[in-house]
């Protein structure tokens, strides 16, 4: 079953994970810049990270026939110090011309603070200045509803092209907010938080199969690089046709990502 993994943090995964997802049909994978499980001590650490995302990981993925793309930013968890964040953001433009960069992401909010919001809005200005698509992280658990509302307000104020914005990690209470405002929505499949396969399919059945994708967001934490394909199998158990399954796990991410000039299968 061919599919696209639209959100995975492979810098935290083993090469065996690339092998495993290739064996079950992964054709392309997108890696947003994120928090690595610890705060980096200097902006220079991000320069190395951006090189890893734009040079090393594409080569590692290619050994298994997987096309690797990435999104660049400073993640919201390390954006609470705006001086530090702005030093990192100043490096982003020099990487935007790299052949596998899709846009700005995963930006957003973590604890819904004033500093996080200011840096989020400055990322939006970079995206607009360089005509980049945007991938957005929404906060965890009790912070998700408030954060999603703040993010949507900021996007409305920034007057971005909604068709080129995906707001990720939606759940039952935030999926309608995101979709009703005309943005794309991402469902993240985690073993202990966010969505289980069954709940993700409930959300698809309730809010529709348009402008939505599913991802594993596998990283250094408890997560499953095979989550997308396992959910596809669950969709078959729920009597969804092969065409609908392919739409959700391949056609939809391809449709959104094809708005990024560098995304080529």
């Amino acid at each position: 079953m061919k599919y696209i993994e639209p959100h995975a943090h492979m810098v935290s995964r083993t090469t065996a994970d690339y092998q495993a997802i290739a064996q079950v049909g992964c054709e392309a994978l997108c890696e947003p810049a994120f928090w690595a499980g610890f705060d980096r001590a200097s902006p220079q650490g991000f320069f190395d990270y951006y090189r890893q995302l734009t040079e090393y990981e594409p080569a590692r993925a290619a050994k298994f026939g997987i096309k690797h793309f990435c999104w660049l930013c400073i993640n919201p968890k390390e954006a609470e110090d705006p001086v530090f964040a702005r030093e990192v953001m100043a490096m982003i433009p020099e990487f935007l011309d790299k052949p596998t960069v899709l846009g700005i992401g995963e930006i957003g909010l973590n604890k819904n603070t004033k500093n996080e919001l200011a840096i989020f809005e400055e990322h939006l200005e970079i995206a607009k200045k360089y005509d980049q698509a945007i991938l957005i992280h929404t906060p965890h658990l009790e912070d998700k509803l408030k954060g999603t509302r703040l993010i949507i307000d900021a996007l409305n104020n920034a007057d971005v092209d909604r068709s080129r914005v995906i707001i990720d990690h939606v759940e039952e209470h935030t999926a309608p907010l995101v979709l009703d405002h005309g943005f794309w929505a991402g469902l993240t499949l985690y073993p202990e938080s966010k969505c289980s396969p069954a709940r993700a399919i409930d959300i698809l059945e309730t809010f529709g199969m348009e402008n939505i994708w599913m991802n594993s967001a596998c990283d250094w934490g408890i997560s499953d690089p095979l989550a997308v394909i396992k959910t596809a199998l669950e969709m078959k158990k729920r009597q969804h046709s092969a065409e609908i399954v392919e739409k959700v796990i391949y056609d939809n991410p391809k449709k959104f990502l094809s708005q990024c000039p560098n995304f080529k299968l």
Binding site: N112, T113, H140, L145, K146, A198
Partner: protein, 93 residues
């Protein structure tokens, strides 16, 4: 699309298992010493919301809403970097 019975065939045993996990978790908290924190009343509130979701709200949405921070202004600073899973009404946003 599957019928109600087919959905039960797929998920009843799993849901039954998870319901017993919740019951045992609550028994475990009751059985141990000390005071439970703000997460305990938040959990009870979410269970009640699940059984009686507001009009136009699904049970899953009602549970999310019961655990959520409903304030609207950005926080002054992060304080903690993680999430507890339930909003602490006493601390605020």
């Amino acid at each position: 699309m599957p019928t109600k019975k087919e959905i039960q065939d797929l998920y009843f045993m799993d849901a039954r298992f998870k319901l017993l996990e919740i019951a045992s978790f609550l028994d475990r908290v009751d059985r141990h010493e000390g005071e439970a924190d703000f997460r305990h009343p938040a959990f009870a509130k979410a269970l009640a919301a699940m059984q009686n979701p507001p009009e136009g709200t699904t049970r899953a949405q009602a549970v999310h809403l019961a655990f959520s921070d409903h304030s609207s202004e950005p926080a002054e600073s992060a304080g903690i970097q993680f999430a507890f899973g339930a909003h602490n009404e006493e601390v605020g946003s």
